[in-house]
C-alpha cells in the first residue's frame, strides 16, 4: 500500500459509553499507525470514569512528534463514536467545519433519560446536528452487525472496518489483520476480521 503520511498531526477522538470497547479500538488503531511509522499519542482515562459514563480516547497521529494527550477544543479531525449521543457531545466541544464523523446509530440511554428526568434527542435531531457541524458524516448500525456476529461488543471492530473504508486514516485490512494477530487467538481473529469486513461494507 502507498503510504499516505499526512504532513500534519491528525487528531482523532474515539468515544462511546463505558464497556463498549472504546479502549480496545483505540489500541488497535494506534498499534497499526505506530507500525506504519507514525508517532502516536493516545490520551484516555479509565477506572471509575468508565462505569456507565461517557468515555473518550484522544489519538494524535503525528509524522514526527509527541503531542499533548488532550486535543484542544475545536481541534479534532475525525470522530469515531460507538454511541450517537456521545458523538454529538464530542462534536460540540472538539468539532470544527472540517471534521468528519463516523457514528454508530444505536443509543445507550443515560440513566437520567431512563428515569424520565432528561430526554434523548431524536435520530433526526442528531443527524441534523451532524450535518450542520461536520464536513461529512456516516451513521451506521454497527451494534446490529455485532449482534448478528454473536457479540454486540464487536461493534467497535465494525466501526474500525467502516473507518478503513472512509479512507480518513492511513490503514487498511492487511494492517488490521497484522495488528490483531499480535494479541488474539486464531478463532478470535477470524470473527474480528469478519466484523471489520462487514463494517467496511456499510460505507458506500
Amino acid at each position: 500500500m502507498k503510504k499516505r503520511i499526512p504532513s500534519e498531526t491528525k487528531n482523532v477522538i474515539l468515544t462511546g459509553v463505558g464497556g463498549q470497547g472504546n479502549v480496545m479500538a483505540s489500541r488497535v488503531l494506534a498499534g497499526m499507525l505506530v507500525d506504519a511509522g507514525y508517532i502516536v499519542t493516545i490520551g484516555e482515562t479509565f477506572g471509575m470514569s468508565q462505569r456507565g459514563g461517557s468515555v473518550m480516547s484522544h489519538l494524535r497521529i503525528s509524522p514526527e512528534w509527541v503531542r499533548s494527550p488532550q486535543i484542544p477544543r475545536g481541534g479534532a479531525d475525525v470522530i469515531i463514536a460507538l454511541e450517537p449521543l456521545e458523538a454529538l457531545r464530542v462534536l460540540t466541544v472538539y468539532g470544527n467545519p472540517r471534521i468528519h464523523v463516523l457514528a454508530n446509530s444505536r443509543p445507550v440511554y443515560p440513566i437520567g433519560v431512563i428515569t424520565g428526568e432528561l430526554s434523548y434527542p431524536s435520530n433526526e435531531a442528531i443527524t441534523e446536528a451532524f450535518d450542520r457541524l461536520s464536513a461529512a458524516f456516516w451513521m451506521i448500525d454497527a451494534t446490529s452487525v455485532g449482534l448478528q456476529l454473536g457479540n454486540p461488543v464487536l461493534s467497535n471492530i465494525v466501526m474500525i472496518g467502516a473507518l478503513a473504508k472512509t479512507g480518513l486514516l492511513p490503514f487498511d485490512r492487511r494492517m488490521f489483520e497484522k495488528e490483531i494477530k499480535k494479541t488474539l487467538r486464531a478463532d478470535k481473529c477470524a470473527i474480528n476480521l469478519k466484523a471489520f469486513d462487514e463494517g467496511a461494507d456499510l460505507i458506500k
Binding site: F46, S49, S68, P69, Y109
Partner: protein, 646 residues
C-alpha cells in the same frame, strides 16, 4: 513475548505506566510492590506477568505502607526495588516514608506516585510533591512517555548514588496516556540479597537501618540532597526550548509540558515564548534556574495541581533578585491559571493569550451558534453502577431495611465502585451521605455510634469493599468492638479489587504472580474480633433484607453482614448471562400500575429502560448482564427471568 520485554531499540507504543515498568526492568529492578489505585495500577499489573522471566518478585500488598516496607526490605538487602501507588497512597505510606528517608536506603529504591489532577478517578486531587519537600526526598517528573521510561531507570541509579529513596511522580494524563518509547537494554541481574547490619550506626551502607541518632542522621540526609541538587544542575531531563531572549518564560513539568508546548504552537508564539521543562523538581537546580530566569522578566509557571513549583521557584528567585532583577510571576497565585483541577492545552493557551494579549483563531460565528443549539440537546450521562452490578442490589437492600426501620439510619461510605452511592446519591438510593478515605467509613461509624449519650438515635451502618477491608478497615473494626460501638458493618464482597481491574487481594487464594496463596477469610477475622457475622447474596433480596432488618433491630453490638456476589465485569462473569430477562408487555401496566415506574425511575439499571411509545418498561438485551434482580422488584411480576442454559 510480551510487549514489555521488547528488544532494545524497538519502538513500542507504551502506556505511561508500562513505560515506567519498562524503565524499572531496564534498571534491573528485583522487587516491585504496590496497592491498586487509578491511575497507578498498570505498573505492577504489567510487571507481574514477566516476573518469572525477569526473575522479579512482584506483589500486591495489603496497603501502600506495607508495599513500601516490602520494597524497602529488598533495598536494605542490596536489591533494586520499587513501590507504586496513587497519590493518596503516599499519605498511607508516609509514616514509614518519613522514617525511611531518615534511615536511608541501599539498593536503588523508587517510590512511584501516579496522581490524579482533576480527580478523574479519585475522590481527592491531593498531590504528593509536597512530601518530597517535607521529607527531603528527590522528586522526578517525566514529561512524555520516553522520559517516563528513562527517568524511572535513572531514578534507581540516583537512589543508589545518594543512598536514599527517590520519588517519581506521574499523572493520569501520563500514566494512562500512551506514546512511542524506544526501548533500552534489559540487563543481566547478578545481585544476591544479603542484609548487613553490624557496621557503624552512621554508615547506612553497612550499619543498622534506623533513623537515630536523629539530628546527626538528618544532617547527613540533607547533605545527600545537596549532591542531588548538583546532579540536577546537569540533568538532561531539564531542557529549554525557545528563543534566546523570550518575552515570556514558561517553567513547567510533567504532562503540563505537553500542554504548554501545544498552547505555544496554537497561538503561534514560538518566537516569543520559551519553555523550561524540568524533569527534576525537588530539590530545584538553582544555577540552572538562575540562567533561565535571567532571560526575561515575565515568568509563567504551568503545573498541576497545587502551586508547588511556583512557590519554590519564587523562593529561589527572591534570593537571586540582586543578580537577576525583579520578575513578574504568572501562575496560580495571581489566578492566571486555575488553582484546582487539571489543566489542558486550552487552559494554558488562554493563560498565554491573556499575558501576551494574543487571541486564538475562533471558529466561525455560525458554527458556534450551531454548536450552542446542539449542546442544548445533549442530556448528561451520569456515572452509575453497571448493569448486573451487585452494589445496586446491595444498596437496594440497605435502603429498604433503613426505610423499614424508620429511624433515619444512614451509611458511612468508603472507597470503591460503591463510592458512586455517595457521588450520585440516587444511585445509592440516598443512603450514603459520607465518603472519605479508605477505611474511614468504619471509623466514622464507630464514632457516630458513640453519640447516643448526646441524643443521637439513628442506626449507624457502614460499607466497605473486600479489598478495602484488608487495606484499612480492620483497625477501625477492632476499635468499634473494643469501644462497644453499635454498628451494622456491611462488606460488599465482589471477589476482587474490581474498580481498578480485578487485582487479587488477601481474601483470594492467588497472588499477583498467580501463585497459590492462603486466602485470609473476612468472616473469620470479624468473628475473631467478636462481631455477629452473617453472609448473604445481595441478589437474594428476601434473605438479605431479613438479615439487615434483624441487625438494625439488634441494639448494642457490632454486626457484620458480608454480601457476596462477584462483580459483573469480573473475568468469570463478563459476557455471560445467568438469566435471560424480559418484560412481559401484557403484565406491565406502565404508568397505570401505581408503582410510579419503580423499575426505571428508582432502580436505575442502565439495561432496564422505558419505551416511550409503548409506555412500558423494556430490557435492552445488549446492555443487560442477566443478574435477574429486577424480576424481584416489579410489584406486577411483569419482569421474568429464565435461567440461561449453556
Amino acid at each position: 513475548m510480551t510487549k514489555l520485554l521488547s528488544p532494545a531499540k524497538s519502538n513500542v507504543l507504551f502506556l505511561g505506566n508500562e513505560a515506567i515498568a519498562r524503565g524499572a526492568l531496564e534498571a534491573g529492578v528485583s522487587v516491585a510492590t504496590g496497592y491498586p489505585g487509578t491511575p497507578s495500577s498498570e505498573v505492577i499489573e504489567s510487571l507481574a506477568p514477566v516476573a518469572r522471566e525477569r526473575n522479579l518478585y512482584v506483589e500486591w500488598s495489603v496497603n501502600e505502607k506495607v508495599a513500601l516496607e516490602v520494597a524497602a526490605a529488598a533495598s536494605f538487602a542490596g536489591l533494586r526495588s520499587m513501590a507504586v501507588m496513587k497519590q493518596n497512597g503516599v499519605n498511607v505510606a508516609s509514616d514509614f516514608l518519613l522514617h525511611l528517608t531518615a534511615s536511608g536506603t541501599r539498593g536503588g529504591l523508587v517510590l512511584v506516585s501516579c496522581e490524579d489532577p482533576g480527580a478523574l478517578s479519585s475522590v481527592n486531587e491531593g498531590e504528593s510533591r509536597y512530601f518530597a519537600r517535607m521529607l527531603e526526598m528527590p522528586l522526578l517528573e517525566p514529561a512524555d512517555f520516553q522520559e517516563a521510561k528513562d527517568l524511572t531507570k535513572w531514578a534507581f541509579e540516583l537512589s543508589e548514588t545518594i543512598g536514599n529513596v527517590v520519588m517519581l511522580r506521574s499523572v493520569t494524563r501520563m500514566s494512562h496516556a500512551s506514546g512511542n518509547v524506544v526501548c533500552g537494554k534489559l540487563p543481566v541481574k547478578t545481585r544476591k540479597a544479603h542484609f548487613e547490619y553490624d557496621g557503624p550506626v552512621m554508615d547506612s551502607s553497612r550499619g543498622p537501618m534506623i533513623s537515630t541518632p536523629v539530628v546527626a542522621k538528618h544532617l547527613l540526609h540533607q547533605q545527600k540532597l545537596k549532591i542531588v541538587e548538583a546532579l540536577f544542575e546537569k540533568s538532561p531531563f531539564n531542557c529549554y526550548t525557545g528563543p534566546a531572549k523570550p518575552e515570556l518564560l514558561i517553567i513547567t513539568s510533567s504532562a503540563c509540558f505537553l500542554y504548554a508546548e501545544e498552547a505555544v504552537e496554537m497561538l503561534g508564539l514560538q518566537k516569543r515564548v520559551g519553555i523550561l521543562k524540568l524533569g527534576t523538581t525537588w530539590p530545584l537546580p538553582q544555577k540552572l534556574l538562575e540562567k533561565h530566569l535571567r532571560k526575561t522578566k515575565k515568568i509563567l509557571i504551568v503545573e498541576e495541581v497545587m502551586s508547588f513549583l511556583e512557590e519554590n521557584v519564587k523562593v529561589l528567585a527572591s534570593g537571586m533578585a540582586s543578580r537577576i532583577g525583579v520578575k513578574t510571576f504568572f501562575g496560580k497565585y495571581d489566578a492566571t491559571l486555575p488553582a484546582a483541577g487539571e489543566l489542558n492545552p486550552d487552559i494554558v493557551a488562554e493563560a498565554l493569550g491573556s499575558i501576551l494579549k494574543v487571541k486564538r483563531r475562533a471558529l466561525p460565528a455560525k458554527y458556534l451558534r450551531d454548536v450552542q443549539k446542539a449542546t442544548a440537546l445533549i442530556p448528561a450521562r451520569e456515572q452509575t453502577f453497571c448493569a448486573g452490578c451487585p452494589h445496586r442490589a446491595s444498596f437496594w437492600n440497605i435502603h429498604n431495611a433503613i426505610a423499614l426501620d424508620g429511624r433515619e439510619g444512614f451509611v458511612c461510605g468508603d472507597i470503591g465502585c460503591y463510592s458512586m452511592a455517595a457521588l450520585s446519591p440516587a444511585t445509592g438510593y440516598h443512603t450514603m451521605p459520607t465518603l472519605h478515605s479508605m477505611g474511614s467509613g468504619t471509623g466514622l461509624a464507630s464514632g457516630f455510634a458513640k453519640l447516643a449519650q448526646f441524643g443521637l438515635t439513628q442506626p449507624i451502618l457502614t460499607v466497605c469493599g473486600d479489598s478495602t477491608f484488608y487495606h484499612a478497615v480492620i483497625p477501625a473494626l477492632i476499635n468499634a468492638q473494643h469501644n462497644r460501638a453499635d454498628i451494622t458493618f456491611i462488606v460488599l464482597d465482589n471477589a476482587g479489587t474490581a474498580m481498578t481491574g480485578f487485582q487479587p487481594h488477601p481474601g483470594l487464594a492467588v497472588s499477583a504472580m498467580k501463585e497459590a496463596v492462603p486466602a485470609v477469610d473476612i468472616a473469620a477475622i470479624c468473628k475473631a474480633v467478636g462481631a455477629k457475622v452473617a453472609i448473604s447474596d445481595p441478589f437474594d433480596l428476601e434473605a438479605t433484607n431479613k438479615i439487615l432488618t434483624n441487625f438494625l433491630a439488634d441494639k448494642g453490638s457490632l454486626k457484620v453482614l458480608i454480601l457476596r456476589q462477584a462483580c459483573a465485569l469480573s473475568p468469570e462473569k463478563k459476557g455471560k448471562k445467568t438469566f435471560d430477562v424480559k418484560v412481559n408487555e401484557a403484565l406491565c401496566l406502565g404508568d397505570a400500575c401505581g408503582c410510579n415506574r419503580l423499575c426505571t425511575r428508582i432502580f436505575r439499571c442502565p439495561a432496564l429502560t422505558w419505551d416511550r411509545n409503548k409506555k412500558k418498561a423494556v430490557v435492552d438485551e445488549v446492555i443487560c448482564a442477566g443478574c435477574g434482580v429486577c424480576a424481584s422488584i416489579c410489584p406486577q411480576k411483569a419482569i421474568s427471568k429464565m435461567e440461561v442454559t449453556r
